[in-house]
């Protein structure tokens, strides 16, 4: 080993393992980050809150590519994290997850396997006697639906919380179109935002079914516009949210943006557009809580009803927030936290 190699080795040994030391905390206010490496991706997992409770809620974020940072808010920390531990998992190619040339592994099967490994690492760190709940939001609902449709996998968890999740993309598109059409026509009849509703209504009238990928994407775009047009829904200023948390939560902003752009533009989305788990949901037997926003056009509440009706769970409940759209954890946080708290407390 020459001098330069020795110096480099010295740097690595002294400098970097310092931030890679294993830190496992059991307290009512834990905060720790670790990574799970699988199939070319190192996925960030942040655990916050009451780890001493031995009850963990693993959040499966939406997107794909959005990252778990946005789910970590002060209110949720204070109103769920005080009793249970919250686990924020950045899926591959999302948030602070890292890797090299790993885009070929960006597909649903791989993400379900990633989730399984994250759960195994959680149990390795915090003990296999832990109570674990999954909370899937939006696209995260698809991963969750796939996961719990596998009998041997659903046994790893105590319950599922589905928040505005999509388990059936083709059905999702159909329901989004129906909801935008019916609500839009009603709003126009009430002389509200006519000029903004009309293009949405026209699009829905022209595109009636068997949606192409491009049509599916356009419906998704219109669904966000439609939610913005509703006065009854609580609107979220996302830029303000990012500015509020970017420094304190150490957002790697450019990495988050790179990951989001890659995931949004990936061919993976074409695969998702035809994916559905309605036909396998009968396998689900664990307790399930469904939380939906009344004004969610992106994943309409009828999607939740389909999920509710198809699962075999005897312990299941669906509740709808009257002021929420697609992001209940930001739009109706009090309702969101109370429902989750009650469900987890009852089944831990």
């Amino acid at each position: 080993m020459n001098k330069m190699q020795k110096i480099l080795m010295l740097i690595m040994v002294l400098l970097f393992p310092g931030c890679q030391k294993e830190k496992i905390t059991f307290s009512d206010n834990a905060s720790e980050v670790f990574f799970v490496e699988n199939a070319g991706a190192a996925m960030r997992v942040m655990v916050q809150g009451n780890t001493a409770s031995k009850t963990f809620i693993l959040i499966i974020h939406g997107g794909p590519g959005v990252g778990a940072y946005f789910y970590d808010t002060k209110y949720i920390r204070q109103n769920i994290g005080d009793k249970f531990a919250l686990v924020y998992w950045d899926q591959r190619n999302a948030g602070a997850s890292q890797g090299t040339n790993n885009g070929g592994n960006l597909h649903l099967d791989q993400m379900v396997e990633d989730l399984k490994k994250v759960i195994e690492v959680l149990k390795f760190r915090y003990g296999s006697d832990m109570s674990l709940f999954l909370m899937g939001h939006s696209f995260g609902g698809l991963i969750a639906a796939d996961f719990v449709s596998r009998s041997d996998y659903q046994n790893m968890i105590q319950g599922l919380i589905n928040v505005d999740g999509s388990h059936n993309y083709p059905l999702n598109d159909t329901l989004t179109r129906e909801k935008m059409l019916s609500v839009g026509q009603y709003e126009v009849s009430q002389n509200r935002n006519i000029d903004k509703w009309q293009p949405i209504i026209n699009y829905c009238l022209v595109h009636k079914g068997n949606f192409s990928f491009e049509e599916s994407q356009q419906l998704e775009t219109y669904s966000a516009d439609a939610e913005d047009l509703m006065d009854s829904v609580i609107h979220v200023n996302y830029v303000k949210k990012v500015l509020e948390y970017a420094v304190t939560d150490k957002y790697p902003l450019s990495a988050m943006l790179s990951n989001l752009l890659y995931s949004e533009d990936s061919n993976f989305n074409k695969e998702l557009a035809v994916t559905q788990f309605s036909s396998t949901l009968y396998k689900v037997k664990i307790p399930v809580l469904l939380l939906w926003g009344k004004y969610d056009f992106t994943c309409p509440s009828a999607l939740g009803e389909d999920f509710y009706n198809r699962i075999s769970s005897t312990d299941k409940k669906m509740v709808i927030s009257p002021v929420s759209g697609h992001v209940m954890f930001l739009q109706d946080k009090e309702f969101f936290c109370k429902q989750i708290d009650a469900f987890v407390e009852a089944h831990r």
Binding site: I7, I11, E32, F35, R44, Q98, V121, S254
Partner: protein, 211 residues
């Protein structure tokens, strides 16, 4: 850990300085600048050390332009840099760069410069990293992180104190954009602000010889 990083980079900088001692017997034949800088990516700390060599003689009058009685000295340099930043819970990034530098210095000592060059990055993940094999056994990956090809491009402004105050230093603030590939099959771009000092020992020697 940050202190350890700064210590090691300073130590390396000193080693580099000492390594050059024997080779600068005739300073007028071998000119170089040493750089020590604080590296910051928004609020995250880091450090940078480097050495730069002029590709053309600065005291030859090369590139001198007379415009409105003001002289502008243009120089072309090549620099080698060892850089590090620490982004908690994300990664530490240790990267080396070789940069082509185009610098202009006016008669007041005001510097503006543009640089571009390739590099190599090794990241170290910001937390314990676990791997699970097929049989479900969990292990910890030591020194977990990734290697990336890197491209840096930067623009800086500063003051060369040797022009007016006869001190062999210059202070430069430079904004670099580093791009790392293939980062999750895409490019990762990160702005890095560098604020530091450059020491030009040959300027002292030349000056004292002239005097």
């Amino acid at each position: 850990m940050i202190k350890t990083g700064i210590f090691i980079l300073t130590f390396l900088g000193c080693t580099l300085c000492q390594a050059q001692n024997d080779s600068i017997g005739n300073i007028s034949d071998f000119k170089y600048n040493l750089k020590l800088a604080y590296l910051s990516t928004l609020i995250y700390p880091g450090a940078s050390i480097g050495i730069e060599f002029p590709l053309q003689k600065l005291n030859s009058g090369m590139g001198e332009i007379h415009k409105k009685n003001r002289s502008i000295y243009k120089s072309r340099l090549i620099s080698g840099n060892l850089n590090w930043y620490h982004h908690p819970d994300f990664h530490d990034n240790l990267y080396v760069t070789a940069e082509w530098v185009m610098r202009r210095t006016n008669s007041n000592g005001f510097i503006s410069e543009f640089s571009v060059g390739p590099g190599f990055s090794r990241t170290f993940l910001g937390g314990t990293t676990y791997r699970i094999n097929e049989s479900g056994d969990v292990s910890i990956v030591s020194l977990a992180g990734y290697n990336y090809a890197l491209l840096t491009i930067g623009y800086g402004l500063g003051i060369d104190f040797s022009v007016k105050k006869k001190m062999p230093y210059s202070a430069v603030a430079k904004m670099n954009l580093i791009s790392m590939v293939p980062y999750n099959s895409i490019v990762y771009i990160r702005p890095v602000l560098e604020i530091g000092l450059r020491y030009s020992p040959w300027k002292c020697k030349t000056r004292s010889t002239n005097e």
